[in-house]
């Protein structure tokens, strides 16, 4: 019987010819990643278990991105312990303060290739499915197990196929596409399942958009999310070779099929405090905002900053609103600088933050006070995530966030124009 991408990748990683949804397998992991929230306690766990050698240091990346740069002496101390651990275990792929957000780096630095099985101590590891890799989040204890043994058990998920057709109308972005799925299907629609994209619109879905969608697949509960490898993938990887599964079998069995008709989409926003409470922007236009945030592993890429710059070029952010922009990596930061994007944003009144996760996960660099309201391009608006539990967070596309920053109120980007898809 044919297999889905999740089944093919897990079968290969488990050394079996065939697996199907519901099977338990012990699989060899191809690569793993740990970030600074968990790296120090991970090294402690290994030590307390008496493990002084990891299975393959070359298949591990450690990234300092959540608290970057350290906001306190305690965190600086934590980072020191991480550097000590990286040295002790001889981990070559170490990305220190200022390098960027882990998921962006994993993709940018070539650690993710189609067909790989990748685990990381972060829920947004589903992002790697944009490159047809099976990426999923695990906790610290399980990561300790992976670092010691190179293996982990998996329940082979059933797969929902999502058929994408049509093309995005002006002013509508791939972020709106994933928000529309969330609003329609709900925050636990894909719980324990794999999401696999297909359909005639895929060739027009550029890598930045795929990364945004796969990133937020976990907000639907998905364990994996896949865009089968195609011309877009090949172009992005610039000829890098791989030998893993790249697409599902034509006769694979799916647990369900949903469709996504792009022509029907409009700019959307997720209302506080739910990722799946999604409405058209026009329904909530005029809601005043204190802070606008453009960044995160969802929408901090060059394409996103470019859209924001187009919306804000020659204009000023509303005086009652602060606009924070965090490029997702140093490479993006540098390219945005070369192209004059950062200059446009700064002149419009934006505060440019160092590459990292700070505000998105509620750590530092732009948290909200009681009663404050933020619209951001990130992935979660749960109560208390971005500072005070009495603050409100709306999620939207870079065009919607930039347009809202301009007026100090939630604003449909089609009023502002000058957007491109992102």
């Amino acid at each position: 019987m044919g297999m889905t991408l999740a089944e093919k990748i897990l079968a290969r990683a488990a050394g079996q010819r065939e697996v199907s949804a519901g099977d338990f397998v012990t699989a060899r992991v191809d690569f793993c990643m740990v970030h600074d929230i968990f790296a120090a306690s991970l090294f402690d766990l290994l030590e307390s278990a008496g493990i002084d050698r990891i299975w393959d240091p070359g298949r591990v990346a450690v990234v300092i991105d959540h608290f970057s740069p350290p906001p306190s002496a305690a965190v600086a101390g934590l980072h020191r312990r991480i550097r000590d651990g990286v040295r002790k275990f001889g981990i070559p792929h170490f990305y220190d303060v200022g390098s960027g957000i882990c998921h962006q780096l994993m993709v940018e630095r070539g650690h993710v290739r189609p067909g790989m099985l990748i685990v990381a101590t972060d829920s947004h590891t589903t992002t790697y499915g944009a490159l047809a890799a099976a990426g999923t989040g695990i906790g610290t204890s399980e990561m300790a197990y992976v670092l010691a043994t190179g293996t982990l058990w998996f329940n082979v998920p059933s797969t929902v196929r999502c058929e994408v057709s049509g093309s995005l109308p002006d002013g509508v972005s791939w972020k709106d596409a994933v928000l529309s799925l969330l609003g329609r299907l709900g925050s636990d629609f894909a719980q324990y399942q794999s999401l696999e994209f297909a359909g005639p619109a895929l060739p027009s879905l550029e890598m930045a958009g795929r990364l945004t969608i796969a990133n937020m697949a976990v907000e639907m509960g998905a364990k994996f999310c896949f865009f089968p490898a195609d011309e877009v993938t090949r172009k992005f990887l610039r000829g890098a070779v791989w030998d893993g599964p790249m697409s599902p079998d034509p006769d694979a069995h799916y647990g369900g099929v949903v469709s996504l008709e792009l022509n029907r989409l409009e700019p959307l926003v997720a209302l506080p405090h739910r990722v799946d409470d999604v409405r058209p922007v026009r329904d909530v236009e005029g809601v005043p905002i204190d802070q606008a945030f453009i960044g995160s592993c969802t929408n901090g890429r060059l394409e996103d900053l470019e859209v924001a710059a187009r919306c804000l070029s020659g204009r000023r952010v509303h005086p009652g609103t602060r606009l924070l922009v965090a490029p997702a990596s140093r490479a993006i930061y540098e390219e945005a600088m070369r192209r004059g994007i950062l200059q446009v944003l700064t002149e419009a009144g934006a505060v440019i933050l160092p590459p990292g996760c700070g505000p998105c996960f509620g750590g530092h660099l732009g948290l909200l006070g009681e009663g404050e309201r933020c619209i951001g391009t990130h992935n979660r608006n749960f109560q208390g995530r971005m500072g005070s539990p009495q603050a409100e967070v709306y999620l939207a596309s870079p065009a919607t966030v930039a347009s809202s920053a301009l007026y100090g109120r939630i604003t449909d980007p089609r009023r502002v124009g000058a957007y491109v898809h992102s």
């Binding site: 829920s123 399980e142 749960f382």
Partner: protein, 176 residues
């Protein structure tokens, strides 16, 4: 390794604390305390939903919740906080995958049990038996059947989590 029939067949008995759907890891383990010591972190578990919870929860108490419990991030600190407060078990309509794995990985009993929200009120006395997946309301006498955990998970849970398994693994390596 101990067998799943070990302590998991014992009854967990405690008072019920009820929570709704989509209880996120941001509520369970707020980012602001992400790297604080466990003693401090546990004082903030679910405080924005019910400030009494971290103060008044007693060892053995049982958390009963709706759908998608533990949604959000990979923070193992989410189940860790509940375990540190002494919570005996989390019984929910359904769990987010990451929370579910992490709870097992640190040895916090969890049980998916459709119908549990309806069957309990806050403060009820509940009994949970993980090995048979049966949940009883001692006030109403109602017993409901949860979804049994797969054997692979029961083994990790029975061992007390991944860490004891890892210790055994490293001993094997040093003896081998």
């Amino acid at each position: 390794m101990s067998t799943p029939e070990g302590w998991l067949s014992e009854v967990i008995r405690g008072r019920v604390w009820k929570f709704g759907d989509d209880i996120s890891t941001d509520l369970l383990a707020p980012g602001a305390y992400a790297v604080a010591p466990l003693e401090e972190r546990k004082r903030h578990v679910l405080e924005s939903v019910n400030p009494r919870f971290p103060e008044e929860v007693r060892p053995g108490d049982i958390v009963v919740a709706g759908r998608n419990f533990g949604c959000g991030s990979s923070r193992e600190t989410a189940p860790e906080g509940l375990k540190a407060l002494g919570v005996g078990c989390v019984v929910a309509e359904s769990f987010s995958r990451l929370f579910f794995r992490n709870a097992i990985a640190i040895g916090l009993p969890v049980l998916p049990c459709p119908g549990v929200v309806e069957a309990f009120e806050e403060g009820d006395l509940a009994e949970v038996e993980i090995s048979s997946a049966i949940v009883r309301n001692l006030r109403t006498g109602q017993a409901i059947q949860g979804r049994s955990l797969p054997r692979e998970m029961l083994e990790v849970l029975a061992a007390g989590g991944i860490l004891p398994l890892l210790k055994a693994h490293s001993q094997e390596l040093s003896q081998g």
